[in-house]
Symmetry: C2
Subunit: 200 residues, 2 copies
Amino acid sequence: MEYTDVVRRRRMVRNYEAGRAVDRATLDGLLELAIRAPSAGFSQGWHFLVLDEPAAISRFWEATTDPDESPDSWLRGLQSAPSLILAMSDKQAYLDRYAQDDKGWTDRDEVHWPIPYWDVDTGMASMLILLGAVDAGLACCFFGVPAEGHDGVHKAFDIPDELRIVGVISLGYPAPDRRSPSLRRGRRQLADVVSYQRYS
Amino acid sequence: MEYTDVVRRRRMVRNYEAGRAVDRATLDGLLELAIRAPSAGFSQGWHFLVLDEPAAISRFWEATTDPDESPDSWLRGLQSAPSLILAMSDKQAYLDRYAQDDKGWTDRDEVHWPIPYWDVDTGMASMLILLGAVDAGLACCFFGVPAEGHDGVHKAFDIPDELRIVGVISLGYPAPDRRSPSLRRGRRQLADVVSYQRYS
């Protein structure tokens, strides 16, 4: 599909066709796009954990939701996704990369990093997956793990402490869903968010 | 151009055709793509400052480089870009958005935000510009402002304190350039950065 069409068609979908899995070749194709994201110093400090078996998917939702609360329709929809990709960033890979001779920040001090490029670059990689999903005829959503859920997910999947879960991409074939109420806020237009030569 | 071709062709280019500007319609087209990036709660906490006049471009480089050091070939190449887009994030817009009734984090406490989605979302918006540049036949590079340069850039362009410069996108028509030495590190392959069902 034409790039600009992919961008215009992309939206967050929170309901997926029951019983229709995403095959492994399609998932690998999306991940092949992800690893072409740029990264500071070509650090590539990221890891993608794919969950596409029902037991693993259940383990994820158990670690991130309260069993005493019945899921709302939004969560039930997300839980119908047959595949999840956890996009994780590895800060240490960046600090180590920039301690090498050609960069020279051997103190590994985070003061050099006013912007956490490990998270930004992993976000860019996630964007490539989200667009790739549209291009492949899939539906997807990108969402964060609640602050109190990170430890549980790390434990449930043996994720090393140094990896941070930047976001989760749910993937499946689209089923009817309702628009996010947040969209009622309206899109900010260029005149609201762009200025030329000087901030205004 | 097909989406997957755009992703495969994208690379950081650090040298631009002399005297060939990027017209305003093309820049606006790229920004129209950027504002279609997803954002947590549809917060859209971002701002894009476009510099496409020589005086503004010079002001940027004066604020971010040491006048006593002569620029290396990499920096001279970047400085040939006729357009720069400063992609900035606005954390306060997210804290305010999530203090609204439907979210309810009225304490505006950053403990709710283990991941700085203001920076991640602005990174995603930047990714859409980088891909759009390739689609439009332009060359581009994404780079960070050095830690010690942020204050100077804020002053030079009247940027409010609450905005953070996530990155700068240089844009122009491609001129011959040399590959970044960082690429010699090699791309990490799927087997290195992907695991299934459980981290490994």
